[in-house]
Every structure is written in C-alpha cells, then in structure tokens.
C-alpha cells in the first residue's frame, strides 16, 4: 500500500538490468494475454460492431447499418439517461469529496478514539451493493423504518415513489457506500504528508484552519485527482445498487446510462440499441479518465512529496 505507483512503462533507473533470455519470458504473459484479449479486447471491439446490428439476445444477428445510432440520437430517453448520469456524477462528487477529505484527515490522526471510529467508518466497504440497496429499502419505509424509529415525521416520505426524492436517495446511498473507500484513500494520502510542514506552520503561528487549507489540501492534490477520477468514472457504471433499490424508477427518474443499457438490452431485448449506449459509456469513461489525468499534470505518480 505504501509503494509508489509507477507506470510499468517508466524506468526506475539503472537498477533494472534486462535479462538476455527474453524468449521464455514471453511465454509467461500468454495466459493473462489470452484471457484479456478474449474477454476484454474482443468484447470492446464487439460492442462497437454490435451497435450496427439488430439482435434480440437469442436469435440471429442481422446487420442494421446506422439505424440504432440514428434512433439513439433522436431518442429523448437517451438524453435523459445521459443527463441523469452526469447529475448523479456531479452531485455525488460534490457530496463525497469534502466529506471523504475531512474524514481522511480525521482518521489519519493518531488519537485512540479516532482509530476506533475509523474501524466502524469502514464497515460499509464490506457490504455488497445489493445488500446496501435492500437494507435502505427497508430503512426508508415510512411506517417501519427510520422515520418511525426516530419519531421524525418529515422522514416519513414516499422516498422511492417520488422522482426527485428517489434521485436524492440514490445519490445519498451512493455516497454512503463509497465515502468510506475514498476516506481510506485520503487517509493514506494524509499520512504521507511530511510532519515537518506542520511543525513549520506551528512555529509561524498558523492555526488548524490555515494549516488545512495551506498545507493539507495542496499536499493532497494528487490524491484528490486519483479519488475524483475513481468517483467520476465509477459514476458512469453505477448499476447494481440503483437496479435493486429503484429499478430505474419511478418512471425513468433514476434510469442512468448503465441501467438504460441493461434494461434496453436484457429486458427489452434490443441488444443493438443497448450496444450504442455501451459505446457511449466506453467513450465517456476513456474521455473523462484522460481529461482528469491531464488536469493533474503529466507526472501523476509518486509526486506526493513535490515541493519538499
């Protein structure tokens, strides 16, 4: 966990001396390569090809030209799903990032009670998305859930029946599920900030708030980029939890792209049409990942100590 993540393409200096007998070494990558080619690269090409076909999931696959693409471009449902995906992405980022960052700093502290709290904070990491969705469905029941338990009538809403509320629930539950993970990332980042920076700031008389904004946040720049990349790209493929908790409903209120792809392909049996959505997802994912890496500057690796 503490190792610096260096891209394999980069050399780590003269320490690495290439072996001469490369022939047998080539064979060692073959099992991984074959599996990756067959189940990742072939499907990646396949999804583009399938977007130009009609297939109901069982019968024959027939060529359809650009019909699916034209239909997708003219389909308001597609834009709705796209917009929703970005809304969920943006809101869950806005909620998750400050909380995870503060919790990361909090749990990185050496106080005993913080260590104990951290153990409990990370519990949601153990639950599957399906389990979390099922638990929240019960918890949000207006009569037998949290509202009745806490005697707070304003919590007794038809949470999953109203479009706006259901979207809010999805964003809340996504945050509840993933904040622990990002807290863990920030905790790791904070622990690598050199203490001497804080000691110097103490001498200069900077208080906690100042130290946080002038030392902690700038030092965590690359952690923030890593965490944000994972949040943003992950938001594209939120599927399991939303599928179980709302199924995309009410109406299409929580039907994001990933769900739209599944429902179009495997429920409405229009695999060609669903493949169009899949291609959009792949392109968005690649684009966002590249954009965020670019934002972070060229050398995004092991630069935590930059400025020292």
């Amino acid at each position: 966990m503490t190792s610096t993540t260096t891209l394999p393409g980069q050399r780590s200096g003269a320490r690495r001396q290439r072996s001469n007998a490369t022939g047998p070494l080539n064979w060692l990558v073959v099992p991984a390569l074959i599996l990756f080619l067959v189940f990742a690269i072939v499907p990646l090409v396949g999804v583009l090809l399938l977007s130009f076909t009609n297939w109901d999931g069982i019968g024959a696959i027939t060529f359809a030209g650009v019909a699916n693409w034209l239909r997708a471009i003219a389909d308001p449902k597609m834009y709705h799903a796209l917009g929703l995906t970005f809304v969920i992405m943006a809101l869950s980022w806005v909620i998750q990032t400050p909380i995870s960052l503060l919790l990361g700093v909090f749990t990185a502290g050496s106080q005993k009670y913080r260590a104990l709290l951290a153990v409990l904070y990370f519990l949601p990491l153990l639950l599957s998305s399906a389990a979390i969705a099922i638990a929240y469905k019960a918890l949000l029941d207006p009569n037998f859930g949290l509202a009745a338990g806490l005697h707070l009538p304003f919590l007794a809403q038809d949470w999953l029946g109203q479009p706006q509320l259901a979207l809010g629930v999805v964003i809340f539950v996504v945050s509840w599920q993933f904040i622990p993970f990002h807290t863990l990332i920030y905790q790791g980042g904070v622990r690598q900030i050199p203490r001497s920076l804080y000691e110097a700031a103490e001498i200069d008389g900077a208080g906690r708030v100042k130290q946080f904004f002038y030392i902690t946040v700038p030092q965590l720049k690359y952690t923030i980029i890593t965490s944000s990349t994972l949040m943003v790209v992950g938001a594209l493929t939120y599927f399991d939890m939303i599928f179980v908790i709302t199924g995309g409903g009410p109406g299409n209120a929580t039907r994001n792209l990933a769900l739209d792809m599944y429902l179009t392909g495997f429920m409405a049996n229009q695999m060609g049409q669903a493949s169009v959505i899949a291609v959009v997802l792949v392109v968005l994912g690649l684009g966002l990942a590249l954009l965020l890496q670019r934002l972070g500057g060229k050398d995004n690796n092991g630069s935590q100590l930059e400025g020292m």
Binding site: V29, A40, P43, I95, I99, L117, L123, G145, V244
Partner: protein
C-alpha cells in the same frame, strides 16, 4: 452533514510512525468540532447497520409492533433458520467457488505477466504492457453485451465458469500494474545472484520474486476477491438457474420473493456479509490495504 463537517479543520495529520517531538503536545490539543463531527458521522454509518442487525433478530410481529430502532423484545433465530433452509449453503458454496476460481488464476497469471514485463525486454512485452494499461481506463462493465454473446457461443451460459472467466480478465490490468511495481522494487543484485547460481527465469520467479512480493500478492488477492464476492452484474446476466446463484444474486431474488418478510430479508443480508466481516475482524489491515490496492500513493 456537509455543513457540520466542513467547518472544523481537523487536527494536523500525524504519521503513524511519528516520534515525539517538542511540538507533540501542541499537536495533540483537543479539537472539539472535529470530534463532534466525527461522532455525527459515526451515527450516519452505524444506524443503518444497527437497524439491519436488530431487525434480523425480530419476529415479523415484533417488526410490525415495535419501535424500529428498539432492540428486539423477543429475539429469534427463526429468520436465520429460514434463510439457511432456503439453500443458503449452496449459494455460499457457489460464491466461494467463483471467488476462488477467479481470484487465484487472476493473481497467478498476472504475477507471471508482471514478472515477464519487468524482467524481459522486446517489443512484444512492451505492447502487451501497453494493452493492459489501456484496459485500466476502460469501464469494462460496458462491454457486458458482447461478453454475454461470447459466453453463449462458448456454450458456457448458465455455468459458474461463465462468471469466472470474465472476472479473471477484468482483474488482470490493475493486478499486473500493482504487481509489476512491486517486482520492480526487488534489488537487481538478487536477480543477478540467482542467475550466477544457474537458476532459470522460471525458478527465479517462484523462488525469489514470489516470496519477496508476497504482501502485494495478498493485497491484490483481497481486492479482487472482494470485488468478485460482491459482484452482481455478471451473475445477473450470465446465469439463470436458481441453483447457480451466487450470494448477491440470491439476496436479490430472496428479497423479491419474501418482500413482506423484512426481518428474514435482512437476516440474509447479514449472512451474506458475515464471511467478509470475519475477515475484517481477523485481518483488518490487510483487507483495508487490499481495498485501496493501486490507488494510494
């Protein structure tokens, strides 16, 4: 929540291995707002988990009559008995088979590939490495439709192998990346002395690189294992027989079937999480570092 948490600036971070300095006292000064926010966040995390736990021990009558957050007045194990009687053992076994069947080959193959990429040279290995790196940026879940087609064509639809093979493939890019970073940290002198002793690359890999990268291997194994264990999309799409369900899928169909019996549904949630909870209690550090494999710097 956001507002309560954004105000206090938590105490300066301290490294886990810090030595007492003359500033130690000042750093440890109480930070009340941060502490308060920390306890509020604990409530946000714990209340749902507490609710799952206590409700799973309630009878259905208790569920309807008691305060939802009160401890069960007549704790019962009926819900758990019912879940176990509903083929829980079989689903558990399926999950174990799929998780081990995917994780072990994924880690072994990735380790071999990482070793070759670090130790070897030549255009072939470089391109393979570039291909794996590209795989990191692609949301592989989006390729599920062609994977489904492929699995049908291979006559693997509705089998546990159908879940195992794509899971291995999806795990490979990140696992290779992490393991190659660790193998690169092995001092070259050690490789050199192995070579002088007349060991082949194959022997070097198992006798030198493997023992030295063991912590990293455990870490990636946990990361991949947890992902497969909790995976939902692949089982949903690639299997259909009830007897081939893995736990998350069984959970989902169980709640569809017994939607009125909330205590039993929540008991099934507890049972599916129990193995990982045990793991968390035994090896918390390993599990947590496994979770952030490759992301922490």
């Amino acid at each position: 929540m956001t507002t309560t948490l954004s105000k206090p600036a938590p105490a300066p971070a301290t490294s886990p291995t810090r030595q007492p300095t003359r500033f130690g006292r000042r750093v440890r000064k109480l930070n009340l707002p941060a502490g308060a926010a920390g306890w509020i966040w604990l409530a946000v995390i714990i209340i749902p988990i507490y609710y799952i736990l206590i409700t799973s021990f309630k009878s259905q009558a208790g569920y309807f009559s008691q305060n939802p957050l009160a401890l069960p007045s007549n704790p019962t194990l009926e819900n758990y008995k019912m879940v176990i009687a509903n083929d829980f053992g079989r689903y558990f076994l399926n999950s174990v088979i799929v998780t081990l069947g995917a994780t072990v080959p994924a880690v072994v193959f990735s380790f071999m590939a990482a070793f070759a990429i670090v130790r070897g040279s030549g255009r072939f290995l470089k391109s393979v490495n570039a291909l794996f790196l590209m795989g990191l940026a692609i949301p592989l879940q989006a390729t599920i439709i062609p994977v489904y087609l492929l699995i049908i064509k291979m006559n693997l639809y509705d089998s546990l192998l159908a879940l195992i093979l794509p899971s291995i493939a999806f795990a490979i890019p990140l696992t290779v990346l992490i393991l190659s970073n660790f193998i690169r940290d092995v001092p070259n002198e050690l490789f050199e002395s192995m070579r002088l002793d007349g060991c082949s690359e194959w022997q070097t890999m198992w006798r030198l690189a493997l023992p030295l990268t063991k912590p990293a291997i455990v870490t990636v194994a946990i990361y991949n294992g947890l992902g497969v264990w909790n995976g939902f999309l692949l089982p949903l799409i690639l299997t259909q027989s009830p007897e081939l369900r893995v736990l998350p899928l069984a959970l989902w169909s169980f709640q569809g079937q017994y939607s009125v019996n909330i205590p039993a549904v929540l008991a099934s949630v507890v049972l599916t999480t129990l193995p990982i909870l045990v793991l968390y209690v035994i090896g918390r550090r390993q599990l947590l570092s496994g979770l952030t494999a490759g992301f922490s710097k």
